[in-house]
Symmetry: D3
């Protein structure tokens, strides 16, 4: 008669067997060097998603029209990045093996690697679309190869040259920009210039789509570990994620790097929840 | 010889008998469902208005040039929305009956209804101009018909079809957008497109003008109960309120939904105070 | 295979059919006049209870030894106090009718009235033990009879003279202290003097036990709507609630008036969770 | 018909002509070296005094029984400490010359000097009772002789040896403690030991009483410029200020060094308001 | 073997003898009338500069390519503005006399005057470029002539008519705008219109360049004493400071009015650090 | 002529060659599971130590009387706890090998292990005195053996039975208390009962002394990762650390678990700095 307390992303109420997309949280920030706190993002997003409507006037779609499930958070060991990635990879493979799409909510950006490894194992032709303020292309950071600052370099280890498309980048070491320009990744600085052309080129490939929310300008998204002034606006990001999700074959995706405690207004969490809503609607609307 | 302590909106120093516009505060947020705190807005706005100049370079006008009075806050019963609205209506009628203009500072958006009822009683041809992020058109909310989420629907009960003009709307249930589109209200989503044309059409009607400040993007106005990313900029709102106040016959107006405690920087309160200054100057400048 | 996300008070994992005590949240603060926010307490307590051990060295007991269930939060209408109380009363009766003990987590103090009405209906000989900084004995507050400031007066309407025992009181109007002293309630100011004697006197009566956490000194519990300097220490309260729960027949109880957002350190929420843990262990340990 | 907005300390509603005690604020912190913000104290105390009862169960007295007036804040020039002190002295003399008692609300501790100068001019036999965490006995601070860190040394310039009684002191330079012990001031470290004996000795002298609220432990009063762990409890201070105000001839007094913005919980402001309430009641109750 | 703890602006590691530009901090806000705190800016900027890359993709330059030194903070007397200015002037002269460029980090805007006096002494043909939200042209403020609100008027006392170029101005008293328009300063309201033309005109003059960061919109820079909605974006300011530093002969400069404590997200501090980085790179790149 | 910016603990100004005690910071919180942030403690303590006097009236001693050096912070890899511990151990050995005493400022409690390993290598008869709210005796935490929750268990691996003295403990799993009681550690719950007797017993042994500041009650020390209500007061801790440092042979020590960002008042940081001051003075005063 009485139900147990539960908490999930608004509108993500499907049963696992019916779901096409399965949300899961990776509350991990064990390699964050500057300001930790991304671990608090998944629960904050779920709580504040209740201040959000399920309906999007932008797309005239409603979360409740689609079979989406929120499978809750992983319990991850701090101080052991590889162990954490293995647990993320395992959850993503569980979802992929049931012909469903994993949608990961970080956590710091390193968590992407676990889900990406799972997708690359299932889809050998995988391409990566990456929205971020930072290059994330270092070979190592203070001697560690698994770090929020190296995650796209590790993705390159896995996928190889010319399979990674980076947008919005406005911060990194000179050496990272140089390395990218030597044919290793496509890097569009500052904004989403050329996104539509690239989506057309990629339309036959399976896509992993990773959104580091610090691609946004800190005016609208102050709640993040390393705020970088000069980013894109909410509407620019909203339109760009909608295009990626609506126009390409996204087989896995994630949203990372919200650190809610740096934004006492709660706006950053609201932004994260609304971007996830728009992504979820675009992933399902007008799809067979 | 020594004066009692007092606190008022900067430059609103007229006596009641001389005043053309009379400010009053309605520190009420009793139906706010997500994040309360709009009750603190009137006092916060008065305090921080002292960091503001009385002069506007945008309009080359100065608050001290015009007869404006700040009549302080009502004391309103929490837990009794209708009782609160009756007190607001009573104060507004007192002001209207002296051929003055009531300028209400909320409080949550429901407070608008009390002042609107007073204006509609005096001006049967009243039209409503409504700036907001949210439709506010629900029939009821958790069974209650008096709510911040139903206030414009209640306004429609009072005014009828095609007398309400909504601008900047970017959030609501699908059913609310559908209901509006069935001829009940004019709804301009996202921005102020067409405002000048509508002002021209309305130039012979008495206008009630309600500004829910969450029409602003949360980057510049994080201090509100339900932040909705994707809103208008400060300059867009400043220009739009100036046009409404300068080019139409505003017989009553309000500014609502500042919740100062969600913005420890104080910027949201500064924004509210500056919008009120611009409205006040536009209401009086070049008017007979 | 994958479970839905859920959130409950730590260690409260029993099924309803097995449970002896059933927690439920009443996220309501619709009559709070000074600083709202108690609505956020139930979810905050659940989240932060995960930083707490289930084991109490004070009592050498562990939450996981006892059949306790967390049945989640009610959805309550803001702006309608009587409607909210009816829903609280209904939930409490559901629990009582299954021979279980309701344990309510507020919310503002008014929520107590709903659970008390349910207990009084089942147990006509009910007595009330009340820990608080405030008398809460006003006949009305701004004309409203249902208010956080009148809740114990309403309890007196229900229970009658000399059935209410108030401890820790240090704030109120003179008239409230006078009224109490006229034989209506037993009022022990400032602390828990005489608690053991009263518990001995009451040992054959069914007890409703309400804890307004602002009985604590604000140094250890700043996160509350109306902080009153000069309160009891954590250890004083911990010992007092343990005595009440261990030595009397508590048939219903509650913990109210945490407003977590006023305490960014999270200490107040940790205090609330730990007091609930100690109460729960004392309610079950060495009981038949 | 409609009153202007005003804000005053709760219960301080007398007209100037009737008042025995006149509150005034000195929102000045221009010499604060570590963390400014005491300028915000007077308005914060007035606002939050509305969450306080006018009745004190400790003394069974009510603010509304006594003729107390709040005459508002001075407007003081930052960057000119002597100019600010002159304005404070002028206001205090205005009050003293009408046979009333000035009650100053700071501001940083330097403001005391202005009111003390006024009282010493009227009462040549003046003694100073000083509650504080800090000695405040430096000859100068970074070359400046007018500073929050030198204020009691300046008081000594004015009053001379053995007329200053310092209580609760727990911080200072070694040289300050040595200088005090050479017969210049009576200094009781850490607490209020011997207060009653000293009050008996001083019962025939006019007293200026200055309370630097940082004498409190920062657990209960974190909102101050230089928090010093190891202070007195709220109840210790409450009892001590009550004794001074009830048992001696206080001709002028002040409460200083609240910096409300360092305490987002508002507890420090509530503490300040409650201490002022207790002082005001003790100053008037059972006095002819 | 072990180094002492030290803290400096990232990449500013040159020895004094090699340095071309020498940073120094003036942690002074003694005349700030509304909200103090700019004193905390220099240390906050140094600490958070460690979250910044030394490389700028905008200019393809790296701080570590250039000889820049951070010489730490001055110790300044609060309550004595002229004394503080003298210490600032002395430090700036020390730097100028070694044929180096002083780069001052405030502090409130008044600190500019000390460095400007030093530069004007060395360079009689000095021009001032001023970015700000506020005119800062008052003759006095509450009777004081040295104030954050008068600093550019004092600069005019020093430099005379038509040597001051103000950009981005959007707040002031009517009289200040009028005074400026009488031929005393060039004042470009709201933005940087015409900056390139003016830089061309000024290319043969020594320039002092002062940036009051509140020229930025408070959405991206909430951490300041007097936030003025309606300012420029980060990218607009970034481009404008780059032009001034790259295209003119800046002999001294400053960045003022960050008050980090009003922005708990830390974004404002990140903005300040990044603007300083861009200025430093533009000052040195492609220069002889 | 001009010095580089530097930042050190107040009064810790000796050169390395002269120093008897060498402070160093370990800004690491990579295994913190609940609320990270202890990484910010060393810099926050240094900054806020400037609000502290160097003189202690409690001990009549002054930091500047003794040869103490602050050697700054280590740069530690997040995500690699063993790597971080090795760097801490190396720094401690460097200091010990010069016949100096390492004084470590954490960071999370795990950092203790690195310094303890160094001391145990030099002093085979080492004993450990441990002040904490938590047992820290788990064998592993989520599978990881190196964790803030296991650090004293790891110390036991190193030192063996009956060499560890735990005081103030009030939280842990039942199994940890049982394990301790089986002869593995001496565990005094809640307070410092018996401390003097134990110090007498240990007076001929080299001591490592570790202070987890969460032994304090959260009322005075809210700024920590896992606040545990019911702890000791500041004066109790001050007296206890003074006794340990004055009456035993402390060859290494640390202070850990300040997380300054959870305490916006800054009181927790002030407490940490003052405890370090008292320890430093007690370590050197009246010592040969």
């Amino acid at each position: 008669m009485l139900n147990k307390a539960n908490l999930q992303f608004i509108g993500a109420e499907a049963e696992f067997s019916q779901a096409l997309t399965v949300l899961f949280g990776a509350p991990f920030d064990g390699t964050t060097s500057f300001r930790p706190g991304a671990r608090f993002a998944p629960q904050a997003i779920r709580l504040d998603s209740n201040g959000l409507e399920t309906y999007s006037p932008y797309q005239d779609g409603d979360l409740t029209d689609f079979p989406i499930m929120d499978s809750g958070d992983l319990e991850l060991p701090f101080g052991n990045p590889r162990g954490a990635l293995d647990l993320i990879k395992e959850r993503a493979l569980n979802i992929l093996n049931q012909q469903k799409r994993p949608f990961l909510i970080g956590g710091e950006h390193l968590v992407t690697l676990g889900a990406l490894e799972a997708c690359a194992q299932i889809y050998p032709e995988l391409r990566l679309i990456h929205f971020d303020a930072h290059t994330d292309l270092r070979q190592d950071y203070l001697g560690e190869t698994l770090s929020h600052a190296t995650v796209i370099r590790r993705a390159h280890d896995l996928l190889g040259d010319q399979r990674i498309y980076q947008f919005g980048i406005r911060s990194g070491e000179r050496a990272e920009f140089v390395w990218s320009s030597q044919g290793h990744t496509f890097l569009i600085p500052y904004n989403f210039a050329g996104l539509e052309i690239i989506l057309e080129d990629l339309k036959d490939y399976p896509i992993y789509f990773t959104v580091d929310l610090d691609v946004l300008d800190p005016s609208v998204f102050p709640g993040t570990g390393t705020p970088e002034p000069g980013g894109v606006s909410f509407d620019q990001l909203r339109q760009a994620v909608t295009k990626v999700c609506a126009q390409s074959q996204v087989v896995g995706c994630d949203v990372t790097e919200l650190s809610p405690q740096y934004d006492p207004s709660g706006v950053s969490t609201a932004v994260a929840a609304k971007i996830i809503r728009e992504m979820l609607i675009a992933l399902h609307k007008n799809k067979k």
